[in-house]
Symmetry: C2
Subunit: 407 residues, 2 copies
């Protein structure tokens, strides 16, 4: 008999009918002999409805009061799902974040979980009840309601699984697992039965929107086995494991990409200590996040060229700031390009396998795709290429590394 935490997102509980479907799935797990804790989000659309109400009063409502407002979304879902479970003959009980003492810091709208008191939940499980907990929310040390920010329900589920020492944390979503790459771009993309935490972290941060990155970090830290499954289709999904040996063909897990990137370059900067800080300081002061950074000595060996990427939304602002910096540093020129994408090959197998990078570059060259930037980590290689080559590049790499689905 296992203890399982299941998390259902907003789409999975988006209507009365879907809540009833979730109740049936939960009951099946319990009927199989598992002890089940369910973590749910607000019904899809509900958070936006509440935000619209708040913004009709004040464009920037107080973070504390926004949390009081938004936390009602999950509270509605826990009550309805518990009613649906009871209607299906499955004893159940609901709890808000405050009621199960999901203790967070006081950073309203983006709080971090500190700990959870699992005692009350364990008592209910031992009495044979399914426990339904509101995701996304907690309380701070003063009893104020906090929320974890959008997508925080994944983190709630993982934290609950860690607190209860659950055997598995199952994230039900609208996809049936983690794929080698986006199936909308490469129809032969293959579902991965397993992936390591490190790979999943790289995949998540590189644009796969399946799991909240903070939830993956949390699961890695507390060694909670995570599984991504579909709310609507049967199947085993993808298990995210910390046992590298478990992962079959441990070379490349998949191809991630980020579409909304833009590239900025400042050329001919006098090469002095502290120049990187002088260039990136004003960018970061403007709250613009920088992704890849590359610095090269220029041909004249006295100046340096400095390139970085930002989110495309920040491109205009970043360009303005960089032009000011260029004048202040007497740099030669500023260049920018907002029609680029980032393509990344991810796999723990890279560590021990030489030649992955050159095979990647070769595959792209064969298709005539020019590489504009390269950046590597222990388990990933990222390249920046022209936007128009995105689909071609993904498919070329998918082929080159033999990731295609059999049959």
């Amino acid at each position: 008999m296992s203890l399982i935490v299941q998390k259902y997102g907003g789409t999975s509980v988006g209507s009365i009918e879907r809540i009833q479907t979730v109740a049936v799935k939960v009951k099946q797990s319990r009927d199989r002999g598992h002890r089940v804790v369910v973590v749910v989000s607000a019904m899809s659309g509900e958070t936006d409805r509440l935000l619209d109400l708040a913004r009709a009063i004040q464009p920037r409502p107080s973070p504390r009061e926004l949390d009081v407002l938004l936390s009602t979304g999950e509270q509605v879902t826990i009550a309805l799902l518990t009613m649906a479970l009871e209607a299906a003959g499955c004893p159940a009980r609901s709890y808000t974040g405050a009621q199960v003492q999901v203790r967070t810091d006081s950073a309203h709208n983006k709080a971090r979980i500190r700990d959870i008191d699992g005692g009350r939940v364990m008592g209910d499980l031992e009495s044979g009840r399914v426990v339904v907990v509101a995701g996304f929310q907690g309380i701070d040390e003063h009893g104020n309601i906090t929320t974890l920010g959008r997508g925080g329900s994944d983190t709630s589920a993982v934290a609950m699984a860690a607190a209860l020492k659950a055997d598995e944390c199952q994230i039900y979503t609208d996809v049936d697992g983690v794929y080698t790459t986006d199936p909308r771009i490469e129809p032969r993309a293959r579902r991965l039965p397993r992936i390591t935490f490190e790979e999943m972290l790289e995949m998540a941060s590189l644009g796969s929107k399946i799991l909240q990155i903070r939830a993956v970090e949390f699961a890695g830290k507390y060694r909670v086995p995570l599984r991504v499954l579909s709310s609507f289709k049967r199947g085993e999904g993808t298990l995210i494991t910390f046992e590298e040996d478990d992962v079959e063909e441990a070379k490349i897990a998949g191809i991630a990409f980020a579409k909304d990137e833009a590239k900025l370059t400042i050329l001919g900067v006098p090469d002095q200590p502290g120049v990187a800080h002088k260039i990136l300081g004003p960018i970061s002061d403007a709250n613009i996040e920088v992704d890849m950074i590359i610095q090269n000595i220029a041909a004249d060996a006295k100046t340096t060229d400095f390139t970085f990427t930002v989110h495309r939304n920040d491109y205009g602002k970043a360009l303005e700031i960089l032009k000011d910096t260029a004048r202040a540093l007497s740099a030669r020129e500023v260049q920018g390009d907002e029609h680029i994408v980032k393509l990344s090959l991810v796999g723990v197998g890279m560590r021990s396998h030489a030649g992955i990078a050159s095979r990647m570059f070769e595959a792209l060259a064969r298709e005539g795709i020019n590489i504009r930037m390269i950046s590597t980590s222990e388990i990933k290689i990222s390249v920046v290429i022209d936007e128009k080559y995105l689909e071609l590049g993904v498919r070329a790499l998918h082929d080159a590394f033999g990731m295609a689905q059999n049959g």
Copy 2:
């Protein structure tokens, strides 16, 4: 500087615009130097919307889960009103029932308040904040969310006022006070500047829907001065006081009436001990509430006639039951009438003033209105008359006791 608790019902906070209007009213009270605690209901329509969701899952949802669901209604209002106050430049903070420890018994959907911890609220008031509290809700000793039942926000406000030893509890509603009778029936009805608690209790239980009867009882028990005011019009409203001397012309406060009554009579019941129980026991077993009860010895002095009134909705069921009882008791006959109304004259002055009853009966007789039943208490006289005479009877009494508005 007074401490005032203000309560705004669902209609008063029924839209963003109305919430903003309430914020302005609250801020004005604070600007006048008062410390203000605001108790609010769910936005009008919200409780019904949530009930519909629950009933779509289960016609009789679990009372515990229904409370988890319904309590979100007020939680939305406290957040929005606090945002509106802050937007108006008035520092404020919201609290759920759980956060201010509104402790109740565990009777979900109809819980009774045991006590409230005013400490946190006092701290905020001392820092110059307006405190906004969710009405209608509390927690039981196990931390489960409870609700007080419909209209319970009035009781929340009175209980909060009692806990804080407030100088006044102001109930804002869609009428501007308590009237001598319903102005829709008697256009010359006059607003009472003051009324005693006992009179208000009789008026409330006799059909005036201005205040929750439990809230009035609570205010009387803890001696909280209550004031009924309009959310939409300026004015002093009606103060409900426990000082009888304060009440001007201490004879008659007003005329209440109940339209939805029905009368049942069982004739010729053998007069034995326990007969009243034999007649009313089966009625009460069927969960039918009985209002007036009258028993008379019949002309033959060996049998008795027994008459009582019930809500018109229960008439058919009560008639069936009574016919069975009549057979069992060998009574002569059962009669019923569902076209009756109850008219009541209420006033603490009755205690010391003789002749009120005869003046009442005379005024009705003058209009040719036949009295079908009479029942009296220390501070009220109720008569049952034919439904068609309701308006005529109200106006006749209003005239006879000089209650008309001057000018």
